[in-house]
Amino acid sequence: MFIILALVISSIKALCIPSYRSTDFEVHRNWLAITHSLPVNKWYYEDTSEWTLDYPPFFAWFEWVLSKVAYYIDPAMLQLENLNYASNATVVFQRCSVIFTDLLLVYAVKECCLCRKFFGVDSKRQPPEQSLLKDAGFVVAVLLLGNFGLFLVDHIHFQYNGFLFGVLMLSVARILQGRILESAFWFSVLLNLKHIYIYMAPAYFIFLLKHYCFTQFKNGRVVYSSIQPMRLLQLGLVVAFVFAASFGPFLAMGQLNQVLMRLFPFRRGLCHAYWAPNFWALYNFADKLAALAGTKLQFLDSSVLSKSSMTAGLVQEYSHTVLPSVTPAVTFACTVLSILPSLIHLWIQPSNERTFLRCLVSCAFGSFIFGWHVHEKAILLIIIPLSLLAVGSRADAKVFLLLAFIGHYSLFPLIFTQAETMIKVFMFLFYAMFANASLSTLHKMNPRWCGMPLLNVWELIYIMGIFPLDIYCSLGHRALGLMERLPFVPLMLTSVYCAVGICYAWLRFYKISLSNTTVKIHDE
């Protein structure tokens, strides 16, 4: 089954080879050139191109391996001076490298699906289902492998998220299989491939500590006397080993500071050019409304408004006019506060793999909603692990379906070229409809008039709001002739509209993950 799925999905991805690609394509080409033509000690100093290497060392090594293959395809792409080089061979090679490395995700998902118990399937009792849609393994495989966000970000926009999520899923699969040390190993590797996953580290830390280093529990709390020092040591050694392999050489060369500076550029602003649909988008929006109202009612000088506020959304820096400005420290505190309850819950309540995954998703949620300079692509950190949960329980499925609409819709501004517009719309609808059909069938929901039994009426109305919103943003705004005066409005509307839904989904999800003290595998 996985071979078929991999073939089907890879062939669709292959069709994207001629499509639009963002500057990330050039970023990765440049990294190929850097790792190929420079010695290791210059990797993090090189700045011929503006797209300097800002991923952790393992990813650089990953690019280094790719560059060895690239050499045989078209050596010209490996020259540092060849900025914006995109010959046919280069495009095909880079696109294919994404498609091939995605196979790791296929393998990881297969490993996850083998843990049938986790999805509420008793492998002994049930033969393979007659209908594919009733087979949890199949549904989760399609939801993960055919994920719309990954498709958009990796195969049109261009990035290697499929591969990275492959490592994450592999680590999750090892936890489901009870192979804890391997899981810790893969997660450390992942951290050294892309540091954004550090937001998930707290959940890993708590779970590994609790379930690997302690053996006795009382009402879900660890019995401190049952600590296993050897296991703790093993775990620590595995993690330390991976980090040493990654950062060790740079530490030895005394470049650690430089590497870290490249990895964590705090010069960037609170929000990305396009506001990620999180709490700060709402905050900015409120500020803007307040400023507008203030000038209308003549509390504020109108020069304030014209100076900063009206260009926001297009420029990086955004200074608030009415509400207090936000510093990185504040966002950090908010993030920590937002994930703390779920971490404590994981520590003191009875827990299993499901609570761990919920905590993982909570961490991703918290960092997405309150993080500093969050990119809209980070929504995938929530959606991908949530897919695993959605198949096993109805409550999670409801949140997942909501996010499958809203979260994925919020990625729309990423692809703005006309030729790809219909592709993104059709793929989006395909994924959303498939998620709806399969999850409703799987959780045996009775179809209602609207055919979306997993959502309640308000959610449904909210979801349907996407369609007029999108029509307005892509056509209506231009037709009204407002594009010249208010160019940022479509993006702002999209981001604020989605932010409402995502914050709502977060609250709902938090309720589920905290209330479920007695964890049922399958809540019928």
Binding site: M1, I4, L7, V8, S10, S11, I12, A14, L15, C16, I17, P18, S19, P128, Q130, S131, L132, L133, D135, F138, Q418, A419, E420, M422, I423, F426, M427, L429, F430, Y431, M433, F434, N436, A437, S438, S440, T441, P447, G451
Partner: protein, 501 residues
């Protein structure tokens, strides 16, 4: 939930179509003649700027040597509508004579969207309705999976969205005709087929079965007044034709002018390397040199008619919806193999009725469909669509495999290969050998330099290889048609009556 699943697959099929449309089209950037894309754009220009009677006539404003209109009036009207829209968006796209060879990012997008709109309006709903109404024996989920496989057939997608044509329109109308006839609405059915015929004259390949089916229905119908039914049918057909041809009926000249444009016999026995009998024979016997054009025309017409007879007579004697589908396959295959002036793309006309047999004979049908796409490889390679060809072929084959032959197959019990009789083993062996052959030929045609004295080696090999398959398929489908039980014709009439009531 099945509606949502069907919706999901529809959107998947549409995204695949749009993804293919990112690729190049026939004649992209190839001056001075360009290709089918430019032909369609040129027709928009001609129909938009000139009065109807000048569309098919050579004049100072309309140079017929440069992609002159050679499709029936419905195509011209379609071009006219598109021409209006094009003019509304950007008048440069259809400016008379000045817009020749116009190419731009937006224009390509516009052209691609015109195909998508036609597809969404005609072909895709026809497939969905066909699966919902004509496949009673399957459950809902199976219907959805059959529709999914049908919609992913690479031939139509590649030619319409890659190469650039509007096959979805004529094929869609034919499909609507089949649907109407199987539901017992003979009048609507014949009207639909007239539309198809007036969109593309290639639909003549399907004309004989429709004619025999309707005539047989009239002759052996005991319940209704046979004569009245015949008159009604004749009236509907004539009326439809009259409406479609209205602007050209003013004088005999313009009518004949259109007809001479539609059937250009002077072009020769076959064009390029097509997988039909004449081209395959040319490897051994050089027919083109041996006989005059006139003799060739007579030979091909006579052989076509002769081979057409068995399936047609069989259908006439016992008209049923089931038999109609087989007769459509047989008639179009015979035409493709034997008739005059056949083009590679015309295999799509045969593929459509084959698609309809998917639930009954999945293995043979999937095999045929793969092969039909393969037979168009030289054309697609010339258009720079190799990537799209490979990707859609893999997509289609794996989807079909998953739906029909895997352990999960939705259409259970159809799996012929799971039965381990020796006959099936042989069939499966031949199938894999054939796949191997296509694979080798594909790779060879793509990678290897042909020897200097035989520049057309690979296209000819490809054509001969496909032709051999098509002949065997033709015999096989004839066999299947004759194997169908001869139904009592009044049985069908009562069935129909039940449905109508």
């Amino acid at each position: 939930m099945n509606n949502y699943l069907m919706g999901a697959f529809l959107f998947l099929a549409m995204s695949v179509r749009m993804l293919v449309s990112l690729g190049s089209y026939s004649g992209e950037g190839k001056e001075p003649m360009f290709g089918d894309y430019e032909a369609q754009r040129h027709w928009m220009e001609i129909t938009y700027n000139l009065p109807a009677e000048d569309w098919y006539r050579n004049s100072s404003k309309n140079d017929l040597m440069y992609w002159g209109l050679d499709y029936p009036p419905l195509t011209a009207y379609h071009s006219l509508i598109c021409g209006y829209v094009a003019n509304w968006i950007n008048p440069d796209w259809v400016k008379l004579n000045e817009s020749r060879g116009f190419e731009s990012y937006e224009h390509k997008l516009f052209m691609r969207y015109t195909v998508l709109v036609a597809d969404i309006l005609i072909y895709i709903p026809a497939v969905v309705v066909f699966c919902n109404t004509c496949l009673h024996s399957l459950d809902k989920l199976q219907q959805v999976s059959v529709a999914a496989v049908m919609l992913l057939y690479p031939g139509v997608i590649l030619i319409d969205y890659g190469h650039f044509q509007y096959n979805c329109v004529s094929l869609g109308f034919t499909l609507w005709a089949v649907i109407s006839l199987s539901a017992g609405y003979d009048l609507i059915g014949s009207m639909m087929f007239c539309f198809a015929l007036n969109y593309k004259q290639m639909e003549l390949y399907h004309a004989m079965p429709f004619f025999c089916y309707l005539l047989g229905g009239c002759c052996f119908d005991k319940k209704e007044n046979r004569f009245l039914k015949l008159v009604k049918l004749g009236f509907v057909v004539l009326l439809t034709f009259a409406v479609c041809w209205a602007p050209f009926l003013t004088n005999k000249d313009s009518m004949l002018q259109v007809l001479s444009r539609l059937f250009p016999f002077s072009r020769g026995l076959y064009e390029d390397k097509v997988a039909n009998v004449w081209c395959a024979l040319s490897v051994i016997v050089k027919m083109k040199q041996m006989f005059s054009l006139d003799t060739l025309l007579k030979m091909s017409s006579a052989s076509t008619l002769l081979c057409l007879l068995p399936s047609s007579v069989n259908l006439f004697l016992s008209p049923s919806a089931q038999r109609l589908k087989y007769a459509l396959v047989n008639s179009s295959l015979v035409f493709f193999l034997l008739s005059f002036q056949v083009h590679e793309k015309t295999i799509l006309v045969a593929s459509l009725p084959v698609l309809l047999l998917l639930p009954e004979k999945p293995s043979a049908v999937v095999w045929f469909l793969q092969l039909s796409t393969f037979s168009m490889y030289p054309l697609l390679a010339k258009d720079g669509l190799v990537l799209q060809y490979v990707a859609t072929m893999v997509l289609f084959s794996t989807t079909a495999y998953a739906m029909f032959f895997s352990e999960y197959s939705a259409a259970k019990g159809q799996n012929v290969w799971s039965q381990t009789s020796s006959r099936n083993k042989v069939c499966s062996f031949i199938f894999w050998m054939s796949c191997l052959g296509t694979g080798i030929l594909n790779v060879a045609a793509h990678q290897m330099e042909p020897p200097k004295n035989l520049p057309d080696l690979f296209p000819v090999l490809l054509a001969a290889f496909s032709c051999m398959h098509f002949i065997i398929f033709c015999i096989y489908f004839h066999f299947l048609q004759f194997k169908l039980p001869m139904a009592k014709s009044d049985l069908r009439a009562t069935k129909q009556r039940k449905k109508i009531n």
